[in-house]
Symmetry: C3
Subunit: 209 residues, 3 copies
Amino acid sequence: MAAMRIFPKQIDFFEILEAAAVNVTKASATLLDLFEHYTDVEAKVKDLYEIEQEGDILTHEIIRKLNQTFITPIDREDIQALATNIDDIVDLIWAGVDKMVVFRIEKPTREAIQLANDLNLTTEAIVKAIRDLRAKNYERVKEHCIEINRLENLVDRVYRNALGELFDDFKDDPMMVIKWKDLYGHLEDSADKCEDVANILEGIVLKHA
Amino acid sequence: MAAMRIFPKQIDFFEILEAAAVNVTKASATLLDLFEHYTDVEAKVKDLYEIEQEGDILTHEIIRKLNQTFITPIDREDIQALATNIDDIVDLIWAGVDKMVVFRIEKPTREAIQLANDLNLTTEAIVKAIRDLRAKNYERVKEHCIEINRLENLVDRVYRNALGELFDDFKDDPMMVIKWKDLYGHLEDSADKCEDVANILEGIVLKHA
Amino acid sequence: MAAMRIFPKQIDFFEILEAAAVNVTKASATLLDLFEHYTDVEAKVKDLYEIEQEGDILTHEIIRKLNQTFITPIDREDIQALATNIDDIVDLIWAGVDKMVVFRIEKPTREAIQLANDLNLTTEAIVKAIRDLRAKNYERVKEHCIEINRLENLVDRVYRNALGELFDDFKDDPMMVIKWKDLYGHLEDSADKCEDVANILEGIVLKHA
């Protein structure tokens, strides 16, 4: 570890984490826009691809800087866990949209729009939580985590409902069932990842309480 | 970490781990009962939901107490890994049952009953292993781990068989294939998690050998 | 940890890691051979099973030796992560082939052959990377990682294409769609695991730069 400086210029990990969280809200807002207005699909998919790439760059930057410094404002493992889990959300959103293209989906279902809407609210709560973590407003971080968990539970219920409807709505079209079952799974997994981020944040708060 | 006490009242992590493991056997026993006698479905599903909630409470208690003490009877990471993986088993069982409701399954398959039975035996071996870990009977912990692995292999074989049958049994009903393929996956994942618990236990035993 | 020796005979972790990586290439080469010439299926499946078992043995050996020594040539966690992720590749290849048998697949698709081919190239790059890591040729490790990432992107594209084709090629056969969607998933997951190995290798190189 020859390159590691013992007294490095302070690296602002929170700044990069916040940028990564804001990047997630861009992904979820683009997803919601895509689902609500299923127009300019190609351009919006391209936007999402770029957002996914930006997420990768931010994550690599955090990992690289973690390897260059001894001094971190919160535990090294927690920064890494936040960075990778935040990036996973973007990856899952991107993978879902990419599959919509592969599956040649002609129109989102009503449930997909609702899932995208709830997911978007969840990612906004993550940005607020990261900002309050940086400001050491630990009580407010906890409140945002409660909100993330509430929204994740909501997504769970919408997902269950969507899954049940699927077998009715497309009962003569197994291909559509196969496709939407997969796509709903991506949306649900994205919300699950938001909950993982909330769990990491709660762990950090606990250590600093 | 201002709240961390250097000489805390000894926290009995094994007691909570054992309670969490016993909770898993409640989940698998309820699952087996549900599958064997597909009556009072609503009440049994409600029971399973409460067992799942109880699992969450126990896991959070362990994590919270880990953050409050320096002194742990076995490595901190091992306690955390045991707690989260034991909780994952309950979550997977619950998620599977919840999907049965969503999919409006009218009757479990013969293979599902067998999988539930083997899974139940596996979780009972986990309780025994945790008890012997607490008593430092490391040789017997190892024996229980061998038994867990044996049962997991059995589940694997039943699962493979069930999957193959599925495409025959419901060859004109793709919806049922989609549904049971998903449900069998939950049962198999639950058994996989039991194997993960056994691997963690073997790692702990190795360190104390 | 009574059994841990402070001055142990130096354990050659790289030797076992290299053996594990070579074992992965055996798995992917057998897979490719199976797909290209769909003959002697039973014998090739048996070979793959033995390769999977060999992978387990090598992984256990690494974990066991890690627990017996303080002195490791690279970080302990990195050795463990390499070992488990390399083993995961073999497990995923084996699980995919095993499912082909369960699903009674009569003939691989053209896309499956291409995926197996690209996966085989990827695993060969992993062996080269491990060898150059052992020789401390860090620049060349990086080059192999870039190649692994390039191949993984290629697999991604082939996979997307294969998935899209599936719904056309078997539009009147939902069972085949269900089966191949699952099998393609295994092949894609295997390539993803190769990328995980590349990420771990890049992390190691970064620390030794």
